[in-house]
């Protein structure tokens, strides 16, 4: 007992936050140890001290029996003691080799609030918090089945972050779970603070700059993907769940698509796929057309563009690059700045970068239109990683257009398609519903079939592919 206390004092450099309290039950000495920064003194005095006061027989089993704390752990080693002490447990040292850890955690997390990064006008409004148990609870609330299986890990040499791998056993593919399980067990790092770090540790990070996992703030999203056979990784202290593996089509699907009529959703999807190509190609194609392939532009339009470019001193590529960079600076600063100052940003953005740049003769008005449609189109996607990936390819398209005209655009496009189609993560090819074509998923891509008709899961994600056996519709 003394050995443990001495070692603890030595390792923590006599940390004053660690309280060691002596107590005696019928001449038998016991020690109560806790860290006051992460424990709630209320529960210690209410449950532990008070029950100990009422215990008169100093045996280990008797204490275990009579203590009114619900959650406890029986410990045997010093390492366990150290871990549970650092996780907000109160340790009772009874005698050599018999220790009890009692949960007295202080509630350090905020409550469940509305999501801040995902906007769903119709959906459920709860979001994940920093507390992993709450997060698992939010998912469990929606899947009331024993088939929701959870594997727990402690990752990080210092942080000892609890990480949970969630999947629905009867749906998810065993190979995927085994691979993820193996990869998670291999992780050996100082600390894990966010789920994104886990993603970067288990795959080749820069092989493809498009994201292959999705971060979800809403339990709704996590549950939806669990039901498709994806796995979800939760980490303590991170309010974002990591869904993997995803394919490109997943980034075009938004929550309200699930409960709107499929014909309307199809039209929205067409717009989303259109914005994908607009935001990728517009600046590049504009550069290619106006500096190489002027013959493609109708004469009237060409004259109008030429008139606007008449006084611009830069080449079209430099002009486009300037505007692209200034928009990205604006977006970056808008993300970082507190909301009370954001009106200043919008004034600077609208007035100086739009109006004044044109009248100063630095950029042409049509370039403002090109950049505006490009950047607005890129904001239709929720995943920030996806928007950033599009930015890289947009730049490549601009360079291709500036070097070779429309020919260059075609070359970069071929490069992009090769890159995307040759990439797969956990056995799911990135362009999955389109290449290789998977009928089950094509029904929920650009075209969304009525919900009753989407009756299969993606065979790459699940071996149990039949998901819907609903009978015929209501007919009069």
């Amino acid at each position: 007992m003394n050995y443990i206390i001495n070692r603890l004092k030595k390792e923590t450099n006599n940390n004053e936050n660690i309280i060691i309290r002596k107590k005696s039950i019928l001449f038998k000495k016991i020690y109560i140890i806790y860290n006051e920064t992460i424990t709630s003194s209320d529960s210690i005095s209410n449950y532990i001290i008070r029950s100990l006061n009422n215990i008169y027989i100093p045996t280990y089993n008797h204490i275990l029996d009579r203590i009114s704390n619900f959650k406890y752990k029986e410990l045997t080693t010093y390492e366990d003691i150290s871990y549970y002490l650092n996780s907000g447990f109160t340790i009772i040292l009874f005698n050599n080799n018999k220790y009890i850890a009692l949960e007295t955690r202080k509630n350090l997390s905020r409550g469940i609030t509305t999501p801040t990064t995902e906007n769903a006008p119709r959906g459920a409004l709860d979001s994940f918090t920093e507390n992993i148990e709450n997060n698992i609870g939010l998912i469990k609330r929606r899947i009331k089945s024993n088939n929701l299986w959870i594997k727990n890990y402690q990752l990080g040499k210092y942080t000892k972050t609890s990480v949970s791998l969630l999947y629905i056993n009867s749906i998810a593919k065993k190979e995927i779970i085994d691979t993820v399980d193996k990869l998670l067990n291999k992780i050996n790092i100082d600390g894990i603070i966010a789920t994104g770090t886990i993603r970067n540790l288990i795959e080749k990070e820069n092989k493809n700059n498009f994201p292959n996992t999705m971060s979800a703030e809403k339990p709704y999203t996590a549950v939806k993907y669990l039901l498709q056979g994806n796995v979800v990784i939760l980490a303590d202290n991170d309010p974002f769940a990591l869904i993997m593996p995803t394919n490109i089509n997943d980034y075009f699907i938004s929550e309200e698509d699930d409960f709107n009529k499929s014909i309307n959703v199809t039209l929205t999807r067409i717009i989303r796929y259109l914005t994908f190509f607009i935001t990728l190609l517009t600046p590049g194609v504009y550069i290619a057309l106006t500096t190489y392939n002027q013959e493609i532009i109708p004469t009237e339009l060409l004259i109008s563009i030429a008139a606007q470019r008449e006084n611009v001193p830069f080449s079209t590529f430099v002009e486009a690059l300037l505007m692209m960079i200034s928009f990205d600076i604006l977006r970056e600063s808008d993300l970082k700045i507190p909301s009370f100052a954001s009106s200043a940003i919008s004034i600077v953005g609208a007035l100086i970068l739009g109006e004044a740049a044109v009248s100063a003769g630095i950029v042409s008005p049509i370039m403002i239109i090109v950049i505006a449609i490009t950047s607005v189109s890129s904001l239709t996607f929720v995943e920030p990683e996806f928007i950033n990936a599009l930015r890289l390819y947009r730049l490549l398209f601009m360079i291709g257009g500036a070097l070779f005209g429309m020919h260059g655009i075609l070359l970069v496009f071929i490069y992009m398609i090769i890159k995307l189609s040759s990439y797969d993560f956990l056995g799911v090819p990135y362009l999955t519903p389109f290449s290789p074509p998977i009928t089950a998923n094509l029904k929920d891509s650009i075209y969304k079939a009525p919900t009753r008709k989407i009756d299969r899961r993606n065979p790459q994600l699940s071996n149990n592919i039949i998901k819907n056996k609903t009978g015929g519709p209501y007919e009069e």
């Binding site: 004469t299 004259i303 030429a306 008139a307 470019r309 006084n311 079209t316 260059g408």
Partner: protein, 386 residues
Amino acid sequence: MKSKTLLLIVIILLLTGCYDHKELNKIAILTATEINKNNDEFIINAEVVNPQSPDKTTYIQAPFIIYTGKGKTISEAYRQIKLSSSRYLYPDHLSILIINEKIAKEDITEIFDFYLRNPSVRTEFNVLIGKNEDILSLTTPIDKLSSSSILESIKTNNQYQGITNLVTLDDMSIMYLNPHKEIILPSIKIENDNKDSDNIKNTEDTKIDSTYKLSNLAVFKGNKLQGYLTDDESITYNLITNNVKNSIITYECDKNKYLTAEIITSSSKIKPKNNEINIDINISTVINESNCNIELNNAKTIKQLEKELSSYLKEKTEKNINNIRKKYNSDIFGFLDEIYKHDYKTYQKVKNNWYNQEFKNIKININSQINIIGKGNIMEGNNEKN
């Protein structure tokens, strides 16, 4: 290995990129060219767009500039223009080529070679015969560029009247290279050409002094201009060659009373058979205007009217074809081509003295069929008030 590949790619990009890079404010957009000839020298008027930003309205420049160059060949003349222009003459947007009558009367093939040989020129621009000189410098209202104004009016006319015809350089070379066909080209002239016609002042009045006017189709034989068709003959030509989109037939149904039928659809077919040429013309019309006392709500009278119109059209067409044959002796309809395609035996008989004898004398049967598919909102004709 990987870095070597990367280096190669970068080198390829740097060595081959940008070879035909041209910024929009470094090029002069050539939209139309007019070619004339004087003392064995080509004179070229090139219309170049003068782009003006829409917000600078304080002083008005002309919307286009005419550069003139002279030379023994067309390319020499074009090069000379570059002496007086600050920018590279960008030919891909050339939409109109006006060839002066003088060249057309001598030898139109002189201008072919340059435009067909040069890979940077698209051969889809329209070719016209200019009856005056200096047509392009005319300022036009509404459509600021004279070239686009001319082009649009040819298109509109072809669509709604059927007197002119759109002929691109491609079409023209195909007509020329076909040994059984002759070239036909639209023509244009300026009316009331005066001192102000190339000034912006020309467009300031509501009654514009000098305007261009689309003229009739020019008939060629071989490489020489023979003359121009009349309006009626032009419509006949377009009807037979299936070029009419929309036109009208005016028919004298009573003494000094006229009826106008609008052609909605028309199709015609030339069928050579046994030394004769049969032409089927099928037309659907809608009565546009009727000043005659015809009961249009009566099926019988409509039948009757259809018959009358058909025979009128037949008569007119026959007359026009015979006129063209007599006046120009030029096979613009491509009768020999049809014989060549469908009746090779006859072709071998007639090909040697086609123009000497056969073309003038070959029998042409016209079978015209007019259907009235609409009578308009008013049922009856212009009856006298009882």
